[in-house]
């Protein structure tokens, strides 16, 4: 990309032009393109004022449909919305089926909403997280008031979303799990709002009751945020309003308690670590010397002694 093209792209992004946002997101996604890094550096100063909300939960609980309703409700309040929806990449073909837009069809005609489907990628979770931070920065620079980040159907230990977002919504449904599940460590501890979707299904009241019971057992410092448990029907939108209120309440609570700044700093810390990891990962290949592998094969040295040597070599290069 030529310097003037990059300049034009940056201008397009910060003035909120959809085509520019779209091209910028692609540039960030294609890690191989050095223009992506330059773009990121140019737009970074324009971010920092967007409310970033993570939506996570198991596959099939209705995260995309919930985002549709939340985005609609946010639009009614006059907010602009960016959506980043992640679906998994095939470990076999490296292709992906990105199907989240199907649940958000009526948002496509709205110029105040920008939806981007993202493939999780075949690389590490660190690499995906680095990518998500970059995509969020583009949305931020474009002036979106809210960015909703939808995770892939998550497992119990997928907690990184809570480092990217300022508030994390954990979505479940009435028939999924019981009190024992709700007691488990992991993403549930990291969630700020629990949403029971498909509230038209049987057992919603019971589910709400035991989720509340379990969360009331939490040992919290006085004045700490109390995780709301909210029911929603993402087909009709019933219950979406109270979720937005809870998101606002959470922001106010974080700002009063100092948690807001702590989380924003933690997000930056996480992003920086991911970037370092990526750089180091590409360095690793150059640190392994084929001749030394021969030495290891003959058991002349051992892997630990070898990496000590290899890492020392690296430090010298940097000095």
């Amino acid at each position: 990309m030529l310097p003037f093209e990059l300049k034009e792209l940056v201008l397009g992004v910060i003035s909120g032009e959809a085509r520019a946002i779209s091209r910028a997101l692609s540039l960030i996604e294609r890690n191989s393109d050095p223009s992506g890094e330059k773009l990121l550096q140019r737009i970074y100063p324009y971010g920092g004022n967007t409310r970033i909300v993570g939506i996570t939960g198991a596959v099939g609980v209705g995260k995309s449909s919930l985002i549709f309703q939340l985005a609609r409700a946010l639009r009614k309040r006059g907010h602009t919305v960016g959506v980043i929806s992640i679906d998994p990449t095939s470990p076999i073909s490296h292709g992906a089926f990105l199907g989240d837009r199907v649940r958000m069809q009526d948002l496509t005609a709205d110029q105040g909403v920008f939806i981007r489907s993202v493939a999780g990628g075949a690389d590490s979770v660190e690499s995906l997280t680095r990518k998500i931070f970059g995509l969020v920065h583009v949305m931020e620079a474009s002036g979106k008031h809210f960015v909703l980040v939808e995770t892939m159907g998550s497992g119990q230990s997928d907690c990184l979303i809570a480092k990217v977002a300022q508030s994390t919504l954990y979505v479940s449904i009435p028939s999924l799990g019981d009190e024992i599940q709700a007691m488990k460590a992991g993403i549930l501890e990291m969630s700020d709002i629990v949403v029971i979707n498909k509230a038209d299904h049987e057992g919603t009241d019971r589910a709400i009751t035991w989720w509340k019971n379990i969360f009331s057992l939490e040992t919290r410092k006085s004045g700490a945020w109390k995780t709301p448990i909210l029911a929603v029907n993402s087909l009709t939108g019933e219950g979406a309003g109270p979720i937005l209120t809870a998101i606002d309440d959470h922001e106010r609570h974080m700002k009063d308690s100092g948690e807001w700044e702590r989380r924003k700093k933690e997000a930056i810390r996480t992003e920086v670590k991911m970037l370092i990891l990526e750089r180091l990962r590409s360095e690793i290949e150059t640190r392994v010397n084929e001749n030394d592998i021969g030495g290891l094969l003959e058991r002349k040295t051992d892997p630990l002694a070898y990496i000590d040597k290899a890492l020392r070599k690296k430090r010298k290069t940097y000095a």
């Binding site: 959809a18 085509r19 779209s22 091209r23 997101l25 692609s26 996604e29 294609r30 890690n31 191989s32 393109d33 990449t89 095939s90 076999i92 073909s93 490296h94 292709g95 992906a96 089926f97 990105l98 199907g99 837009r101 199907v102 069809q105 496509t108 005609a109 920008f114 939806i115 981007r116 489907s117 493939a119």
Partner: protein
């Protein structure tokens, strides 16, 4: 990064078995495939193609309104500055309409019974000429 393909169903017919077969075949061939769902307006498809920055749009239509809707999608995409996106179509398209659609900018039409591998081969060949893609 794999090439990105949008599979879209303009118009009012609700039969998307064919579209789903294509989505699945392309996914398994290593493409990133985005599906819009059924009953899309040309405006929705063009907007989705723009937001998703796709390399290619595949239109599936069985209702007979292809002569109106396909060119409309293409015009709207051009309006949005999507000039180098490959467009192909499929569904129930009478042979006599194919040359007319090609003139309007649809690169190729695949009829019923087309082996999925033929479409995969076609896309690989067409999209390999683009920079940054597989």
């Amino acid at each position: 990064m794999p090439a990105r393909v949008l599979i879209a169903k303009p118009g009012l017919d609700g039969h998307d078995r064919g579209a789903k077969v294509i989505v699945r075949a392309l996914r398994d061939a290593g493409f990133e495939v985005i599906y819009t769902g059924i009953r899309q307006t040309p405006e929705m498809i063009a907007e989705a193609a723009m937001q998703e920055d796709v390399d290619c749009v595949g239109l599936s239509l069985l209702s007979g309104s292809h002569m109106t809707l396909f060119p409309r999608v293409i015009d709207l995409m051009k309006e949005k500055g999507l000039k180098d996106v490959l467009i192909f179509g499929g569904g129930i398209i009478p042979g006599e309409d194919v040359p007319k659609l090609k003139k309007k900018g649809v690169d190729k039409i695949f009829g019923p019974g087309t082996p999925t591998q033929e479409i995969v081969r076609y896309l690989r060949e067409k999209l390999s000429k683009k920079p940054h893609k597989n």
